[in-house]
Assembly symmetry: C2
Homo-oligomer: 151 residues x 2
Amino acid sequence: MAENITYTLHELVSALDSYADEVLRDQYDVSFSQFQFLAILATEQPSDLSHLATCLGVTRAAVSKRVPSLVAGGWITTSDDPENARRVMVSLTPAAEDLVRLASADLEEAFASMFADPRLDPATTPGALSVTALNAHLNTLTSILHDKGHC
Amino acid sequence: MAENITYTLHELVSALDSYADEVLRDQYDVSFSQFQFLAILATEQPSDLSHLATCLGVTRAAVSKRVPSLVAGGWITTSDDPENARRVMVSLTPAAEDLVRLASADLEEAFASMFADPRLDPATTPGALSVTALNAHLNTLTSILHDKGHC
DNA sequence: ACCCTGTTGTCAACTGGTTGACAAGACGGA
DNA sequence: TCCGTCTTGTCAACCAGTTGACAACAGGGT
């Protein structure tokens, strides 16, 4: 077992990411980062590039470069903001909305069954924690050292 | 608070990383990824490129490309393995050993004081968890979905 | 009306990773 | 000994992010 909690966290995150990536590629033929882009856009729709960039935690330039391929793939559409000629507004296509809905449910179910492991059950393992309680703790930790969330 | 635990984990990790990066740049003039490279090498010294790559969780090519600049910076030295002419063995310089020792202690202290927040104290917050207990839970989670560690 | 300042998207150049191909050496079995 | 196979490091090409610069537009104060 890793002694250092930062090391543990990196391991866990990369394990979760690669698992999610595998599921998404197998069943929906999209990468994890594509799904992430679309899933976040789904909750912020319609959004301009800048806002999307801060939500994704990347720079405007990075988002700007990803847009053309997502448009070509039929996942998003761009439009003008009549209020501001500089702004580029982005929305999901119906196909992307379906994808986000189905894949989110799939991933959630996959994680739930993974978290159903007996080693995480307080009834069998003394001191174990429910996932929601764990999530709350991690959120507390995050808010302690990084007060402002992205969105 | 983020509802999704994977999202929470990403937030926490990136917050921890950028905090560590800031501390290391301010006080030791190295980046987080440089420190990471040296700190892992410190526990595996001396090591060939392949082993170092698996410990770092990157490819051999990535390590191969980083070596020249670390040698130029006076952090590592390379030598031949008399047993195997293909192998390139890597070791820390004394300066790097000092850096790893001092910076590790500094970071550990910084994290400890961060984790001393009252919101994480079981005495004041019912249901709160010690960092070591949290670490154990995260390790359990990791081992459930990704049995093999890097090193 | 005009300027100053801030916002927004895009670009070129760079960084640090990946993949796939490859050559050099290690090594065991026929 | 020689051959097939594995390991090891390196390379070119690529990918997805960053930074810093920039131009276009928005909007407020004078």
